[in-house]
Symmetry: C2
Subunit: 220 residues, 2 copies
DNA sequence: AATGCTTAAATTGTCGACAAAGTTTGTTTT
DNA sequence: AAAACAAACTTTGTCGACAATTTAAGCATT
């Protein structure tokens, strides 16, 4: 799809990004119906570009479309979250393995210094790392795999769903510092070119992450 | 997307399936440009449905689209094949793990008898299993994972690319009987509810499969 | 002859209108 | 009053035309 060129070119691009943002952040509620005519007036574009945007959202699994009926925003559920993290575990585990194989020494160095700079900020404001830092770390691993499929499925697809769960369930989580340590260990494994360990640690990291969010979800 | 409802409803569905078929089977050559107007006359539909079909193909990674420029059929390359199988290894490994966890006893029984019936046909015509049997086996594992993301990424996406490589590189491979044995072992692990082993065996199976195709590809 | 600019052709992006399918409402029938 | 049918309405699917952008061609210039 796009993956790299994240700057919108066409009108459909812009509308797609806006719609995705509004869905992820809950401006358009989960489970609600998406009327093409309604959206076309709201976002001030023709129905054609709305249709294209909705189609793209459907491939991201952010909306579900039925022929001759319409599209609905996906509903958030415990099962959906579990399935999401099952796939993340598989894909990001492999991404970590491939990152250990293919990332350049320079890229690894950048990532290490990135973690260092994050570490300083973690000391002060404890909830900084969660948003920016965590996202940044995972992005680098995934792109470091140099695998187009991995990159597009995760970055263009699953990550937006993950963020949707995080945002709409109000995650600020106390898992900040422990997650940080896990990131350190993963980077070390990659720096040592230990593919096996990198994959194992990443899978475990995501499992922990899942358990953390799952706890919150079942607690309400 | 669709995943389940594989019977086309709308005109865009039909065109999407036709186009996909023609691309996978090489009727439309790999790397060639897709002109919207040209295709709209060829398939006797309006440009709008061609556009929608092309957009869907883009999310399957069967074509690549650039804004204001157009779409091209993806090119087959050794790197592309390797990346494809890296993702398959991760996803289908996880699928096997989840199949061992979630498949019902009945589903497992069906799969075992399916392998039995295939075994008879393998004895006679040695190249039967490759097409129908192999596909059937992997489909059952993937759907057995009960994971929507896994199912859609693999069945709606990657498998068509895999088939494109197979068809266009003329694979009939002598790996028939060995692959069959590997399938047996995987099913056994699933029947024993041994998640760990099921994943390991599936990953190994796909690695072998990759090496087999890779050999052919580098040999020309 | 090669390079750069200008203009023409072709292709993609966007739009509004019409056709088809689904949904709702109101009426009739049991 | 409940169920079944029919008509009106709403929503999606499809189409042809126009606008914007890219590509190609032609011309002028060095």
């Amino acid at each position: 799809m796009l993956s790299n060129s994240e700057q919108p070119i066409t009108n459909a691009d812009r509308t797609f990004f806006k719609l995705r943002k509004d869905i992820v952040e809950g401006v358009i509620p989960a489970g609600s119906k998406l009327s093409e005519t309604e959206l076309s007036t709201k976002y001030e574009v023709s129905r054609a570009v709305i249709r294209e945007a909705i189609n793209r959202l459907a491939t991201c699994h952010l909306v579900e479309r039925k022929a001759n009926v319409g599209a609905r925003v996906v509903a958030l559920s415990p099962e959906g979250l579990i399935q999401l993290y099952q796939v993340r575990e598989a894909l990001e585990g492999m991404a970590a393995r491939l990152a250990a194989r293919y990332m350049s020494d320079e890229e690894i160095g950048d990532m290490q210094s990135l973690l260092d700079s994050h570490f300083d900020k973690v000391k002060d404001s404890h909830n900084y790392y969660q948003e920016a830092g965590d996202v940044d770390f995972h992005y680098r691993i995934v792109t470091g795999s140099k695998n187009e499929h991995l990159i597009s499925v995760l970055i263009d697809g699953l990550y937006h769903l993950v963020r949707m769960y995080r945002v709409q369930l109000g995650m600020a989580g106390p898992r900040v510092s422990t997650a940080f340590d896990e990131h350190r260990h993963i980077v070390n494994a990659i720096a040592n070119r230990d593919e096996e360990l990198a994959e194992i640690l990443m899978r475990r990291h995501i499992l922990y992450s899942k358990n953390n969010i799952e706890k919150k979800l079942n607690h309400d």
